[in-house]
Symmetry: C2
Subunit: 324 residues, 2 copies
Amino acid sequence: MDSRNGSVSETPLDAEIESFFDSAPPLKDSAGIIKKLKEFIEYNSTPPRKGSPRRVVCVTSGGTTVPLEQRCVRYIDNFSSGHRGATSTEYFIKAGYAVIFLYRRGTFQPYCQSLPEDPLLECFECSEDSTIQVRQPHTEAVKRAVSDHHAAIAGGHLLKLPFTTIFEYLQILQSIAMSMKDLGSLAVFYLAAAVSDFYVPWKSMAEHKIQSASGPLDMRLVQVPKMLSALKKEWAPMAFCISFKLETDSKILLEKAEMALKKYRMHMVVANELSTRKEEVTVVTGNEKILVCRDKTQADSDVEEPLIELIVGRHSAYVKDSDL
Amino acid sequence: MDSRNGSVSETPLDAEIESFFDSAPPLKDSAGIIKKLKEFIEYNSTPPRKGSPRRVVCVTSGGTTVPLEQRCVRYIDNFSSGHRGATSTEYFIKAGYAVIFLYRRGTFQPYCQSLPEDPLLECFECSEDSTIQVRQPHTEAVKRAVSDHHAAIAGGHLLKLPFTTIFEYLQILQSIAMSMKDLGSLAVFYLAAAVSDFYVPWKSMAEHKIQSASGPLDMRLVQVPKMLSALKKEWAPMAFCISFKLETDSKILLEKAEMALKKYRMHMVVANELSTRKEEVTVVTGNEKILVCRDKTQADSDVEEPLIELIVGRHSAYVKDSDL
C-alpha cells in the first residue's frame, strides 16, 4: 500500500527506518545518554515508602535541522521557538511528573520564557563596587528562572537532553522510548518538536561545501520515515502518546490532525495553527475535538495550563484502564 | 558575459539586485534603523576638540537564513557561531574604532565568548537569602561580559543591529553602507557573516507550509546577486573592504579567495578553512598572501588579535594614501 494515502505500509516502513538509522552519523556519547536515562527513570519510578511511582513524560521541543553537507555549513531548519515544550514542561512537573526534556540547542528553557532575548546582557548590571546585580524590572523573572530551574534539576525531576540535527533527535528519541518501555502506561510522549519531514540521506550528501558558481541549486530531499509508527508499535507500545500538527492553513488543519491520529495510533493530536497557536489549540482524540483556550481574563495566562490539565486527566484515566 | 567564469557582467547584475530588493518583504522599522545609524555615525565622526574623527567599521556576523515558505516554518540556514565577528568587534573597539555590529539573532555577542552555552542557568545561583549570585568559576567571565559590553554601548562606540533572513541582512547592509558613504576612506566593511549563496525569490515562494504527503521534495534555489559589487561600486565606493571566504576543502580555498578579491575589488579577503579557522587564516591582498596565526604559546590567545592588528595597519595606510 502507498503511504501517501494515509494507510500504513508494514514492511517498507521498517526497512525505511532501519536504513535511516544505519546511514545516520553515529550519535556522540550515546552510552552516556543511555546511562543518564536509566538513572533518571530508575530514580523516578521507584515508589517512595508511601505512595506510587512518579509518572514520566518525554517532552520534545524546538525544531530539527537537516544537514545539506557532511561537513555542515548549510542546513534546512524547522522553525520553532520551543515555547510550547518549555512551558508544558513546567506544568507537567507541577502536576507531579518527571520530565525528560529533549530540546533543540538554543531554544526556550523551562522557567525562562519571561526573560528577554539576551538575558545576561539585558538583565544584569555591574554596580560601582563591581558586583553583578539584577536590573529592574527583571528581578522576579531572573529569580524564578534560576531557582525553579535549579529546584527541578536538583530534585531529580527534570532531565535535559539537547539535539540539533534530525539524526540526533531520532536517535535520542529511540533511546528514551526504549528506556521508558518498562514504565508501561505510566510513560507519556508529548511530541511538540517541529521535526523535519524531509532529509538528505547522509551517504548521498556532499562531503564539501556545495559550490555556488554553477548556476541554480537543485536539491532532492526524501521523506523522513514516520517514526511515530515505530514508537507506538515497538519502542514503547504501552505509552500514552500525544503528537502535534502545525499548519499555516486552517482549512486543512483538523483533517490532517485526524489523519495523523489514525495513521500513527496516537491517543491525542494537538492541532495548532501558526498564527493563533498561543491563544488556542484543538485537541483531537478518537471521538472528540476539544477546543482549549487560554484564560483571556488573565494577562499572563497561557494555553499550556489548560492543555496539560486536560492531558493529565486523560492520562490518569488511561493508566486506570490499563490496570484493569 | 557570464558571471560563472569569474568576470563581472554589468547590466544584468544591477537588474538582478534591483529585482532582489523589489521582491523582498519590507524591512520592519526601516526608518528607526536609519535614524539610529545616522546618530551613531554623526556622534563618532564628529572630531573631539583635539584629535581626529573616529573610524567606523561595519562588522557582519553569523549566518543568514533563506525562508522556503512565506509564513516561515522551514528555512535554509548557513552555519556560523558568530565567534569571529564578536571577537573582532572587541579588538576594533580596543583599537579606537566605532563598530556597527550587524549580527544574526542568537549568535555570539562581543565580550561574551568565554561564557557557557546557557549563561543564565549555568552561571548563577540563588543563595539562601534568595539573592542571585554568580557561581564560581564564572565570576570573571560574567563581570567582563556585563561591564565591558555596557561600557562599549554606553560610550557610543558599539551599535548592534540584528538580522535573521538574507532579506533583512542585505537590506540593513545597504542602509549601513549608504549611511557610511560620507565617511569616505575612514569607513571599513569587515564582512564575516556567512551569507547564503542561494535563495527562493519571495514571490515564487509557497505561501503555506509545504506538504509532505506527495513524495520527495524538489527545490530550485537561485543565486543571491553578488552585493559586494554594488557595495564597492555604488553604496560606499571609498570604504576599505574585507570579505571572507570559508571552504571545507583547502585545495580550492586560496584560488577562490583570489577570485573573490578580483571579482568584487576587495582590499583584502580572509581565507578560512572550516577545520583550522580558529588557529590560522590567510589574508589575500592584491600582491600578497599573509598567513596569520594565533600565538600558540598563550592558551587563551586568538587569531583575531593579530588579524585586526594587520587590518588596522593596512587601513591606516589606505586612509593616508586617500588623503594625498
